[in-house]
C-alpha cells in the first residue's frame, strides 16, 4: 500500500473527504517524509509545522461536523516564497526582503486555503524569480531529487524538488518565462503556466507584469487540472485578471484527442538536440499520434528571437517593478547612509544578489535614452510578430507542442559563470509567456542518465481545458514513472 505522502492530490482529497484518512494523518506523513529528504534536497526555506497541524485539525473538525471540506481537503502544499500569506515571512529568495512579514494573503492562495489545502511552508526560489536553476537564491542551493549533483530548475526549484521528493502533493510557483514549466520538466512533474489573466496575481511579488502568472506543479495531469480549477477565477483586486469564471478542468479531461490537430513547429531542429532529447522528442510525437492526434506542421520563424525578446522585455519590467525595494517602505535598510540617495544605493547594492543586479542593469539599459527604440521598442515589435505567428499556428492546429527545455537537468555550478548559457534554457518556454498563451509541461521520458525530459503543450488563450485533455492523453501514452533516486546521497 502506498504511503500517504505518495498519494496524488486528488486521491488525498477523496480519502480525506470520505473519512478514510484524516488530514492530520496526511500532514504527519508529509512532515515525516520531509524530515527524511530535506537534508538531501534543501527545498524549504521555512516549514510552518504547527500552523499546518492546526489547519489539518481544523479541516478534520469540519469534516466531522459534516461541513464541506473543499476539493483540496488535506492536500499538502509547497509554496514558492514570493506569494504572500498573512502573518508569514516572505523573502523572494532575497536578502533585501529579510524581516518582511506578509500583511495579507494572495488571492489565489486564499482560494487554495478555502478549498481545504494545507500549506506546509515556503520553498526556495531564485532571487526574485530570476533564474533557471534555483542557484540564485540568497539562502541555499536546492538539489534535484533525481540526482543531487544537478539543479532542480528554476525559478520555482524549491516547490518542484519538494513535490518530486514527496514532501508535498502540490507545489505553487510563478512562471514569468518558464519558472514553473522548466523546473517541473527537470524534476519529472507536470507544470502549468495558465493564460495571462487566468489566475489573480494579487499578492504575488511582481517580476515582469506582462508575463507573470501563478501556476501549479503536480505529480500528474489530473492534479494540475484540479488545482488550476481552484486557483483560477476573477479578482476585483487584480485589474489584469480575467472576468471569466473559473472552469472545472477535470470535466472532459479523459475524452481523448482523437482527431485533435497538434502543431509541430517546423523551425525546431531535433538534430541540434543531444541524442537522448532528440529520441524522446520524436517518441513524444509518435505517442501523440498513437493517441489519435493528427500532427500538422506549423511555422514560428521568430522562435530563435524569443530569448532576446524575453530578456529585453522582462528585464525592463523588472527594473521598474524592483525600484520599490529602496530600504524605505519594507525589507532591509542599509545601516550606513548619510542621505536619502545614499540610502537607496546602499540598501539596494547590499540587498540584491548578482543576477538581480544584472537584470536590473540590463533593463535599465534597454529603457535608457538613446537605446529605448533599438532595444525595448524593437523587442516589442518582434514580440507582436511572434504573437501573430503563434496565433496563425493555433488557427491551423488546436495545440502546439515543443520540448519544455533543451535537455535534462544540468549540473550544479555548470552554468553559473555564463548567464547567457543559463538564459538559453528558456528557449521553448518564453514564447507562451511573451504571448500570454496557456502551456503545460508533461514528463515524456528519461535521458541516458535517467533524468526526466518533458513535452510542452501550448493552447489558445483561455483554452486550458484542451491543453489539459491533450496532456492527459499524452500522459497515458507515455507511462512516465515519478521515481527520483536521490542519486549521490551518502546515506539512503
Amino acid at each position: 500500500m502506498s504511503e500517504l505522502w505518495e498519494l496524488s492530490a486528488e486521491e488525498v482529497a477523496r480519502r480525506v473527504r470520505s473519512r478514510e484518512v484524516s488530514a492530520s494523518e496526511v500532514v504527519e506523513s508529509a512532515l515525516a517524509r520531509t524530515a527524511r529528504v530535506e537534508p538531501l534536497i534543501h527545498a524549504w526555506l521555512e516549514l510552518f509545522q504547527e500552523d499546518a497541524r492546526e489547519r489539518a485539525a481544523e479541516i478534520d473538525g469540519r469534516i466531522r461536523s459534516g461541513d464541506p471540506a473543499g476539493p483540496l481537503a488535506g492536500v499538502t502544499v509547497s509554496l514558492k516564497d514570493n506569494l504572500n500569506v498573512a502573518g508569514w515571512p516572505l523573502t523572494c529568495g532575497s536578502k533585501i526582503l529579510s524581516g518582511y512579514v506578509a500583511p495579507y494573503t494572495a488571492t489565489a492562495i486564499g482560494q487554495l486555503l478555502d478549498a481545504g489545502a494545507v500549506i506546509l511552508g515556503r520553498a526556495n526560489m531564485d532571487e526574485f524569480a530570476m533564474g533557471s536553476s534555483c542557484e540564485n537564491s540568497a539562502y541555499q542551493i536546492t538539489c534535484n531529487p533525481w540526482d543531487l549533483a544537478t539543479v532542480p530548475g528554476g525559478s520555482s526549484g524549491g516547490p518542484a524538488a519538494a513535490v518530486a521528493a514527496g514532501c508535498a502533493a502540490l507545489g505553487i510557483g510563478s512562471d514569468t518565462g518558464g519558472s514553473v514549466r522548466q523546473p517541473a520538466a527537470l524534476c519529472g512533474l507536470v507544470g502549468v503556466k495558465p493564460t495571462w489573466g487566468r489566475v489573480s496575481r494579487y499578492g504575488l511579488v511582481a517580476f515582469a507584469s506582462s508575463t507573470d502568472q501563478i501556476g501549479p506543479l503536480t505529480r500528474n495531469v489530473r492534479d494540475a487540472a484540479l488545482s488550476l480549477s481552484v486557483l483560477a477565477g476573477p479578482d476585483p483586486r487584480d485589474s489584469t485578471c480575467s472576468s471569466s469564471p473559473a472552469e472545472d478542468y477535470l470535466a472532459g479531461i479523459e475524452e481523448g484527442i482523437r482527431g485533435l490537430k497538434v502543431g509541430v513547429i517546423r523551425e525546431i531542429d531535433a538534430s541540434t538536440f543531444d541524442p537522448a532529447s532528440a529520441r524522446v522528442w520524436r517518441e513524444a510525437l509518435s505517442r501523440l499520434e498513437a493517441a489519435g492526434a493528427e500532427l500538422v506542421e506549423v511555422s514560428l520563424p521568430s522562435l530563435d528571437a524569443a530569448i532576446a525578446v524575453y530578456y529585453v522585455i522582462a528585464t525592463s519590467e523588472a527594473s521598474t517593478n524592483l525600484a520599490r525595494f529602496d530600504g524605505v517602505r519594507y525589507g532591509r535598510r542599509a545601516e550606513q547612509a548619510d542621505n536619502l540617495l545614499d540610502l537607496y544605493l546602499a540598501s539596494r547594492s547590499e540587498g540584491f544578489g548578482p543576477e538581480v543586479k544584472r537584470r536590473i542593469m540590463l533593463g535599465t539599459f534597454a529603457l535608457s535614452s538613446g537605446y529605448y527604440e533599438a532595444y525595448y521598442g524593437k523587442a516589442h515589435g518582434v514580440l507582436e510578430r511572434m504573437r501573430q505567428e503563434l496565433h496563425a499556428a493555433l488557427d491551423t492546429a488546436d495545440v502546439v507542442v515543443t520540448p519544455t527545455a533543451p535537455g535534462a537537468a544540468f549540473g550544479i555550478g555548470e552554468k553559473t559563470d555564463d548567464p547567457l548559457a543559463m538564459y538559453l534554457s528558456d528557449i521553448f518556454t518564453t514564447p507562451a509567456s511573451l504571448t500570454g498563451l496557456p502551456a503545460v509541461s508533461v514528463p515524456s521520458g528519461l535521458d541516458d542518465r535517467g533524468l526526466p525530459l518533458s513535452l510542452q503543450i501550448m493552447g489558445r488563450p483561455f483554452e486550458e481545458a484542451t491543453v489539459f485533455r491533450t496532456a492527459r492523453a499524452f500522459e497515458l501514452q507515455a507511462s512516465f514513472r515519478l521515481a527520483p533516486e536521490f542519486r549521490g546521497a551518502e546515506a539512503g
Binding site: G197, S242, S302, R348, Y375
Partner: protein, 103 residues
C-alpha cells in the same frame, strides 16, 4: 555592441545601484555579451499590435470601479525599517555631488 566601463557605471547610477570595482569588471563582460546576443533582434521582422494581443487581454475591460479598504496604515508600517508618528522615516534628503545621472 560592447559596453564600456563608463556605460556600466552610468547604467548602475540610473538603476540606483552602487557597484564595487570587481562587480563593474564582471558586468562589463557579462552585460556586453548579453547585449551582443540581443543585438540579433535587429535581423527580425516586426509586427504591430493586433487582435491577437486583445484575445489574451480580454480581461477586465468592463471591470467595475468598486472602492474598498486598503491596507491599514499600522499594518503597512509594521514592515517599514523605520517609522515615526505614522510616517516613514528616512535620512535627510540632500544633494550628494555627482552620484545622480539625469536622463
Amino acid at each position: 555592441m560592447e559596453l564600456t566601463i563608463e556605460e556600466v557605471r552610468k547604467i548602475a547610477a540610473l538603476a540606483r545601484l552602487r557597484l564595487k570595482p570587481e562587480e563593474e569588471a564582471v558586468f562589463v563582460g557579462q552585460l556586453g555579451k548579453i547585449v551582443g546576443y540581443i543585438d540579433q533582434l535587429q535581423r527580425y521582422e516586426t509586427g504591430s499590435e493586433s487582435d491577437a494581443a486583445l484575445a489574451v487581454r480580454e480581461a477586465d475591460r468592463e471591470a467595475e470601479d468598486i472602492p474598498h479598504e486598503c491596507l491599514p496604515r499600522d499594518q503597512f508600517l509594521a514592515n517599514a525599517p523605520a517609522a515615526m508618528d505614522g510616517f516613514l522615516l528616512v535620512p535627510e534628503v540632500k544633494k550628494t555631488g555627482g552620484e545622480v545621472v539625469d536622463e
